[in-house]
């Protein structure tokens, strides 16, 4: 898994590529909580376009990020969900709880 951090208007984009699984979700969790809790970024955009796989530990990290951003009064915004990511969201019944957009443009506009 690789994470690239990019600046955007009003916040930060994290481009995630590869597998968010038991081996790599801790790294994503760390990057996410750093942005939300330490840097107190008002909008954190998570670009999931290049995510090949996500497991329940990846979903758990996203949930932790969501809770942290709620605590901070900031926003966590996901976009570019592939079929496999969508399926896992649906299996978790969490697709309604996250703020999800199709494309980067739509996410940045939101």
């Amino acid at each position: 898994m690789q994470i690239v951090v990019r600046l955007a208007i009003g916040g930060t984009i994290l481009d995630i590529a590869g597998d968010i699984d038991l081996a790599h979700s801790p790294a994503m969790r760390k990057a996410l909580l750093l942005e939300i809790k330490e840097k107190k970024t008002p909008k954190v955009f998570l670009n999931l376009e290049k995510v090949r796989y996500i497991d329940s530990s990846g979903i758990a990290s996203l949930v932790e990020g969501l809770k942290a951003s709620r605590d901070q009064g900031s926003r966590l915004i996901l976009y570019g969900l592939s079929k496999t990511v969508r399926e896992v969201m649906e299996l978790s019944r969490l697709q309604k709880i996250f703020e999800i957009h199709d494309s980067e443009a739509q996410a940045l506009d939101s």
């Binding site: 699984d21 081996a23 796989y53 329940s56 979903i59 758990a60 990290s61 949930v63 079929k83 709880i97």
Partner: protein, 177 residues
């Protein structure tokens, strides 16, 4: 090799009238790995291709991959307490309808580990939809596979998972796809 699975039984209930008859089966691949999270991506790739070879549709193949991955993650985290370097065995068989039963073609995956015994009472996730990390893996597995059975044999934990191919129209309807 038959697959005598008894003991704790957490079979997902789908009444398809297959009864007790055992379908024929053929070994596809057996894999030995260690309780190392880095190894999971190898297993996912192997299982994805196994599902492809057995003509599962993409959605079903992904469901099978997900179940195996979550089950292995649980072995690493719970049975081996997160410690690397312990043995895990996965065997993957092709199920074929035998002459005496109405089972469809399918895939059977058997996981074996030498970790602490599974406590049946702990084998449950948390209510879905709750905004709380954890407790999702078993849900994923049970929602994806047709049969899920935990057992213990000769000092090892066994997990047997089965998914059938191209269900009959009736079964398909009850599956809600």
């Amino acid at each position: 090799m038959g697959v005598p699975v008894r003991g704790v039984r957490v079979t997902k209930n789908r009444s398809k009238g297959r009864g007790k008859a055992q379908p024929k089966s053929e070994m596809l691949v057996k894999l030995e790995l260690q309780s190392n999270p880095e190894a999971l991506c190898l297993v996912r790739a192997t299982i994805e291709r196994a599902a492809e070879v057995l003509h599962f549709r993409d959605t079903e193949a992904r469901a099978i991959v997900r179940s195996v991955d979550e089950a292995l993650a649980n072995v690493i985290r719970h049975a081996y307490g997160g410690r690397a370097g312990h043995p895990i065995e996965m065997s993957c068989r092709k199920l074929q309808p035998g002459p005496q039963n109405s089972a469809q073609d399918g895939i059977e995956i058997l996981l074996k580990d030498s970790g602490v015994p599974v406590k049946p009472s702990t084998l449950k996730g948390r209510p879905l939809g709750e905004v709380r990390p954890g407790g999702l893996g078993l849900h994923f597995i049970r929602q994806s596979m047709d049969e899920v059975e935990f057992s213990r044999k000769k000092g090892k934990n066994l997990l047997r998972m089965v998914k059938y191919l191209s269900p009959t129209p009736l079964a398909a309807a009850s599956e809600g796809e």
